[in-house]
């Protein structure tokens, strides 16, 4: 039955397509692009199908690869949390793929004058497909070691994609490579410690074995947990391990930023939630270990650091990367608060933040595509020059600040109420301060976007009418995904109640108040 095989098709189709692009589409970037689009479209359709199946039956889907019973074989486990993140990842990838139709030929090949770089666009699309396979695999798997392998696939392809940027991209990617390897190896070491004590690698099996009282007291398991969590924190750029993120994402090409920025950190947050609650348990983390207060304070520090750093940036992309650091703080803090409101907020925020980040990066990418300038000055007069892009940016900005009815408001609502419930005034204060700072940042940009002469440098008074009348919108393949993303921000916000009661609330583990 084809519906039984849907979980594996989500992964297998992009994987096989990446090989097909390599073998067949070397001469023709158009063919490569079409194959990619078809593959990700299929993957998205399968994820939606799986989500629907799950919502109808309500039972977790288990898929045994190779037809071996777990824990002897590897299985894919899809429950409500997975299914939601699968749809997010494949959906965002599809939108960015459509968006990339015009930006990839502009950014990727022929960067060195006098040299022809062979087949760069085809390689780009192959790496794109491999990255998506890796991310989808991380989300779908039910085996701890398999997660490591897929983590490395997504990491390697992201190093490749990020290094295809401008001159400083190589050094930034190198630092990311070093830090990313440390993170992945810590995770591997943690899994090794769990293996030496339990003998199993399957997540469900580990949960059963770790609940026994001998292992609850064991030092090894504690340290395994710390290693795993620190490894994942490095991968998600949680303060103070965030050093690699701003440079790596700023110097990458714009399409790569649109692909990588919304997805990689959110998938790492998913990994953290999955390992915390489906391998270890609520009781273990919040009662036996008991350092959640420290983590929430660290998350508050991350939020403040990210927001304040974003305030001082003039480069648009760099500003957005610091906002990502703050958003990661939201999600980690929400998860570690220890109550269901906090976790609901964090899980809903995975969805809303992925869309918000995608929306903003696409809008900024469109502006850079047209003007070639990535500083804040390029946003001057944007409402007249590129109205659709400007409105998309506006909606994204509102979502980031947290203005209803966009989705950002609802996730902040749940996070703040979770924080107040847990008595964490510091975290709640950090959330509100960051909303304020986001408002300052974005309204500054919207001001110069709407009133081009506001705060203009004195020397520019000579060419007043110069840029104002030129209406140069980006091509349709770039506009369409942007508009869809902006609309989804509003839709996710308006239907937030349905999403939370129907989907997110089913992901909260029992035992959280």
């Amino acid at each position: 039955m084809i519906t039984d095989q849907l979980p594996i098709l989500i992964l297998a189709v992009p994987l096989l397509t990446s090989f097909a692009i390599t073998i067949f589409a070397r001469k023709s970037p158009i063919l490569a692009f079409s194959l990619l689009l078809a593959a990700i479209g299929t993957s998205f359709a399968c994820s939606v199908g799986v989500l629907r199946q799950l919502l109808e039956t309500g039972a977790t889907i288990h898929y045994h690869v190779g037809n071996w019973q777990p824990p002897y074989g590897i299985e894919l486990v899809i429950d409500h949390l997975n299914a939601m993140v699968l749809v997010i990842v494949s959906g965002a990838a599809l939108l960015t793929a459509v968006y990339s139709r015009h930006t990839v030929p502009a950014e990727v090949p022929d960067r060195f004058p006098g040299e022809k770089i062979p087949e760069r666009a085809t390689n780009y699309y192959t790496l794109y497909a491999l990255l998506i396979t890796g991310l989808l695999g991380i989300v779908a798997t039910g085996d701890a070691f398999n997660l490591y392998v897929l983590l490395e696939i997504s990491a390697l392809s992201s190093y490749a994609l990020l290094s295809l940027g401008r001159g400083r991209a190589y050094f930034a990617t190198f630092k990311y490579l070093i830090m990313g390897t440390i993170g992945a190896c810590f995770y591997l070491l943690g899994v090794g410690y769990l293996y030496i004590k339990t003998g199993s690698l399957n997540m469900a099996d580990l949960k059963g074995l770790l609940a026994s009282s001998i292992l609850l007291d064991s030092q090894t398991v504690k340290i395994a947990f710390i290693l795993i969590i620190v490894g994942i924190w490095i991968k998600m750029a949680f303060f103070p391990l965030h050093g690699w993120l701003p440079n790596a994402y700023t110097f990458a090409s714009d399409t790569t930023s649109c692909l990588v920025a919304p997805l990689m950190t959110k998938v790492s947050v998913y990994m953290m939630i999955r390992l915390m609650f489906s391998v270890f348990s609520v009781h273990y983390i919040f009662e036996v270990l008991g350092f959640q207060d420290m983590v929430v304070w660290l998350a508050a520090a991350a939020i403040l650091f990210g927001s304040v750093s974003a305030l001082g940036q003039t480069n648009m992309k760099r500003m957005l990367t610091y906002i990502i650091v703050a958003e990661v703080g939201y999600m980690v803090g929400g998860t570690w608060l220890g109550n269901s409101n906090g976790l609901t907020g964090a899980t809903y925020h995975i969805l809303s933040d992925a869309m918000m980040t995608l929306c903003l990066f696409m809008a900024v990418g469109a502006v850079i595509y047209k003007t070639g300038d990535s500083s804040r000055e390029s946003m001057r007069g944007i409402f007249r020059k590129m109205p659709v892009t400007a409105v998309v940016f506006l909606i994204g900005a509102f979502a980031m600040i947290g203005i209803p009815p966009t989705c950002g408001f609802f996730s902040k609502w749940y996070l703040v109420s979770g924080a107040l419930e847990a008595g964490h005034w510091g975290f709640a204060a950090a959330l509100l301060i960051s909303s304020l700072i986001n408002a300052i940042i974005f309204f500054r940009i919207i001001e110069i976007g709407y009133f081009p002469d506001f705060d203009a440098p004195a020397a520019a008074s000579g060419d007043h009418g110069h840029g104002a009348a030129v209406m140069a919108e980006v091509p349709l393949t770039m506009l369409l995904p942007m508009v869809l993303t902006a609309l989804s921000l509003i839709a996710i916000g308006v239907y937030s109640n349905e999403i939370i009661t129907g989907l997110v609330s089913r992901t909260i583990p029992a035992g959280l108040l």
Binding site: L177, C185, L188
Partner: protein, 134 residues
């Protein structure tokens, strides 16, 4: 006290991997030259591989291959004898994967270093940072 010492001495293999791990990590973070960082990464990953492989060791056991598997003289053993007679195969399999991943990352890191050299003219981190600031 004597217990702790005996404990420590009987687990000397775990100490060995720990020392390698720390050396690799220190090299990765503190060295200035990019190639030395990458070598540190390699040492770090090798330490983890050693740790995993040492998990699977059993005293007096042989390699995890059934001798004369398809031959006519099958040695009949009980299940427990078999399990105790062969080294645990699972860590070996996991580490095959880890070695391959390590080599791949090494290749990509070296390619990046070559590109950095082309762009910045140096592979010392402090000189690159100066170069960037200008």
């Amino acid at each position: 006290m004597a217990e702790i010492i005996t404990d420590i001495i009987s687990k000397y293999n775990y100490w060995a991997f720990l020392i390698l791990l720390l050396m690799g990590l220190h090299a990765m973070i503190s060295k200035n030259n990019l190639v030395k960082k990458v070598l540190g990464m390699s040492i770090f990953q090798s330490a983890i591989i050693l740790f995993y492989v040492s998990i699977g060791e059993k005293k007096g056991a042989t390699i995890p291959i059934l001798a004369h598997g398809h031959g006519t003289e099958q040695v009949h053993q009980t299940a427990a004898q078999m399990v105790a007679g062969f080294v645990n195969p699972l860590p070996h399999v996991l580490m095959l994967t880890a070695i391959v991943v390590g080599v791949s990352t090494l290749g990509v890191a070296l390619a990046l270093i070559q590109k950095i050299y082309r762009v910045h003219g140096t592979i010392e981190e402090d000189e690159i940072l100066e170069n960037i600031k200008e």
